[in-house]
Amino acid sequence: MTDTYLNLVNSGVTKKLAQQLGLPQPAPLRRYRAGTPLVDGPVLVLGRGKDADALAAVLAGPAGGAPGSTVLDGWDLDVHRHASPDTRYAAVVVVLTDVEHPDQLAGPVLATAGVLRGLARGGRVVTVSREATPDDAPALAAARQGVDGLLRSLAKELRGGATGNGVVLREGVPVTAPSTLGAVRFFLSARSAFVDGQLLTVDSDAGALPASWDRPLEGRVAVVTGAARGIGASIAATLARDGATVVAVDVPAAGEQLAAVANRVHGTALQLDVTAQDAGARILAHALQRHGRLDVVVHNAGITRDKLLANMTPDKWDSVLAVNIASQLRINEALLTSGDFADEPRIVSLASTSGIAGNRGQTNYAASKGGVIGMVRATAPLLVPFGGTANAVAPGFIETEMTARIPALTRQVARRLNSLQQGGQPVDVAEAVAFLASPAAGGIVGRTLRVCGQNMVGQ
């Protein structure tokens, strides 16, 4: 879907006019293309401790580290440890894992402040900090929790398509854990174009670094439900691009579009209603028989039947709950008890910002999507013994056929209500799904990552 306003404020006379009037000026976002650099310029790594040094070493290290070497494969970036004057930084990584008192935030935060005006378009600020827990000393907890407010506010100040996101490590998780590096890399990259103002927690040092950052899903077999169009079709394409063999699932009635998706991604089409009692068994049988294994399940199929609760009917309530959450629970149970979904499996479910912040007219939808968030939290620990995990992605306003049906004015307003002042693209959701499906996300357990451009509502 075209965002005409975005095009207007980025070109010619209308750009100048918008500047003079002080209108919102959404920037075209940098998006991932294979073969392009991770970041477009030098990266400033701030922080004084061992963690900052270790992370800087990975970012600056040579790519393809010597075979057998214990040194991590480097990312070959131009890393600075002190801000150089007049340098346009592509990214700032602020390592705050060693702060013990709010007083200690000033140093790295004010150093970050000094380079923000020169941050490149589409730049990145990534904080790396530790989770605050009730067991922490009060000052420690205050310092750690302070990062939360700091990052969310900072992200709201960034312009020009730049984003700010944080990686939060649970106690004991090293800064070089696969999921820490995976999350830092995801936030630095163009793959996270529409993820803004989010803090993603890394729970453990499980997971593995991929052999190739460009094709992290090589050799993996992924099922995507609701794959015939919109976000699902984009997820199928993105997982295939990352190396996965894709089984595209949708209801039989959507078979024509589903076949086109399957043929585009060189996968297979499985016409199936996810609410069928045997859906899990049929998905597993298809994947095993045709592709020899099943590693990733993306629960994307979903419907809306909006009604104010006062006007809600049983069929509208029941159908939304049946498709959006009950089917996922049933399929997961079939997979988990099969014994054939046990080689570092990944479940990624589609939640929604409606499930977090609520949305008028969507009690049924929000109940189902809130349910998804609870479901992945409780499902992930069941997969951990197999090196697996389950997580969710919560999209905000995404430009799809569904949102194109929102009345024009409402749509314009809805698009601007986030820090990036625009709607996201289906591929932005797909990139987050692909990251959570990747080997590097093994230490992210039961979390929900928002892809909303830091929508003003909710957490």
């Binding site: 959507a254 078979g255 076949a259 399957a262 043929n263 060189h266 297979t268 016409q271 045709r290 020899g292």
Partner: protein, 445 residues
């Protein structure tokens, strides 16, 4: 079964191997002038191929050969199958050829490719068929055509004027496509009306068969049986002709459409005859080796096939009665009787086609005099006949019917064998214009 007058030749040379049905795909069949009114044969065949490719992950695959055809075909579609392959997700290096055997086209495509696989000429093949009566070719009259050709050969103005002067206004009327029999001028329905009368088939029996067809096809759709056999096309998600809620009462109200000029009561209606239909179907075939290399589950083996033809112009046999002769020969060659068949698929060109076929097989006199047997050929258990419905309910896009039947019954054979673990067999029988009939035996792989 009684022995034939002559000993049948020894079947199947020992050097051949199995040819397998590995799957199928069709688009839902639509009534003529419906959802596919503006779709060409090539559009529909390409869609059916693409759905097959998507289901089995054959993108970019070089298939050994694709064989398909259409009964009603534009002259520009001389290479219809190859053009459809080029428009599909298959490798453009996949060879293809067109087949035409009237309504037996689809089944003949299956048999031809299966034989090549059995011989080792092919590892894989896709058989198919397509037809549209909505986008049928319309030709100019023969006089106009000849005049235009003569005009192109005329050298002087005088010659051109002379040629053009031959034209009469009625020559300008377009010639609509006809499926009438060229030698009798009778439509297929009128031919079948003669056969229906000859065998004394009642209106009630025909309506009951039509009702069963609709009920069984509807049940199969409701059970999701077609989820991995059909891919929707242009908004059509189920067979457009299917009337799940039809009843004997509703069928009984329809006025007869054929045989109105005969001495006997007219019994054939729009309800117990197939309507004009648009659609396309495909069947994936391969060797055991190819199936294993592509992680495909063999559904059925194409065991044997037999064609027959009747002299409907001069003889006593009805136009669509050729399978009556093909099947006894086919079963004898394979040492089988009707009782050895778990499924019998008889294409429902008309309800009475199926019923006259069964009547001929049940007749002692016919068995002795025409089939050279000691008595009646046998009886088909109705519970095994067209178990998921057939053309009366699904519709009948001429060349696409064979592929529909083969894919449907192959899935059913596989399912039955999985459940019961014993050999399971099916007979497929398709009648065709020109007094043709083609029949085949499939066995669960």
């Amino acid at each position: 079964m009684a022995p034939s007058p002559r000993k049948p030749p020894t079947p199947t040379a020992p050097t051949t191997r199995r040819a397998l049905v590995l799957g199928g795909n069709r688009i839902p069949f639509a009534r003529a002038g419906g959802a596919y009114a503006h779709a060409s044969n090539q559009d529909m065949l390409t869609a059916a191929l693409d759905g097959l490719v998507a289901r089995y992950g054959l993108q970019g695959e070089r298939i050994g050969e694709v064989a398909a055809g259409a009964v009603l075909k534009h002259s520009r579609d001389f290479n219809l199958t190859r053009e459809s392959v080029l428009g599909s997700a298959l490798s453009p290096t996949t060879p293809a050829y067109d087949v035409q055997q009237a309504c037996a086209t689809g089944l003949e495509s299956v048999v031809g490719l299966a034989n090549k696989i059995r011989l080792g000429q092919l590892e894989s093949g896709i058989a198919g068929g397509v037809d549209t009566t909505s986008d049928a070719p319309i030709a100019v009259s023969d006089r106009l055509r000849r005049t235009l050709l003569d005009l192109s050969r005329a050298k002087t103005v005088g010659q051109r004027v002379a040629v053009a002067a031959r034209l009469r206004p009625k020559d300008l009327a377009p010639a609509a496509p006809r499926t009438d029999e060229p030698r009798t001028g009778l439509s297929m329905g009128e031919h079948q009306a003669l056969t229906t009368a000859q065998w004394g088939i009642t209106r009630e029996a025909q309506d009951e068969l039509a009702l069963a067809s609709h009920q069984r096809l509807a049940a199969a759709w409701d059970a999701g049986f077609f989820d991995d056999l059909v891919t929707p096309f242009r908004g059509q998600t189920r067979d457009g002709n299917l009337r799940a809620d039809t009843s004997l009462e509703k069928l009984a109200k329809l006025r007869p459409a054929f045989g109105l000029g005969l001495d006997t009561p007219a019994t054939m209606t729009a309800g117990n005859s197939t309507p004009l239909t648009d659609g396309a179907s495909t069947v994936l075939l391969g060797s055991d080796e190819w199936a294993a290399a592509h992680d495909l589950t063999p559904l059925a083996v194409v065991v044997d096939a037999e064609a027959a033809a009747v002299d409907f112009v001069h003889g006593v046999d009805g136009l669509l009665m050729a399978p009556v002769f093909a099947v006894p020969r086919l079963l004898a060659r394979n040492g089988l009787t009707l009782d050895d068949l778990d499924y019998v698929e008889i294409h429902e060109a008309f309800a009475s086609t199926v019923l006259t076929t069964l009547a001929a097989w049940e007749s002692d006199q016919f068995g002795k005099e025409r089939l050279g047997l000691d008595g009646a050929f046998g009886t088909v258990d109705r519970a095994r006949l067209n178990v998921h419905g057939s053309s009366l309910a699904a519709g009948h896009p001429f060349a696409a019917t064979g592929g529909r039947i083969v894919a449907t019954v192959s899935k059913e054979l596989h399912r039955r064998k999985q459940a019961e673990g014993r050999p399971v067999r099916a007979l497929v029988s398709v009648c065709a214009a020109g007094g043709l009939g083609l029949t085949a035996i499939l066995e669960a792989a």
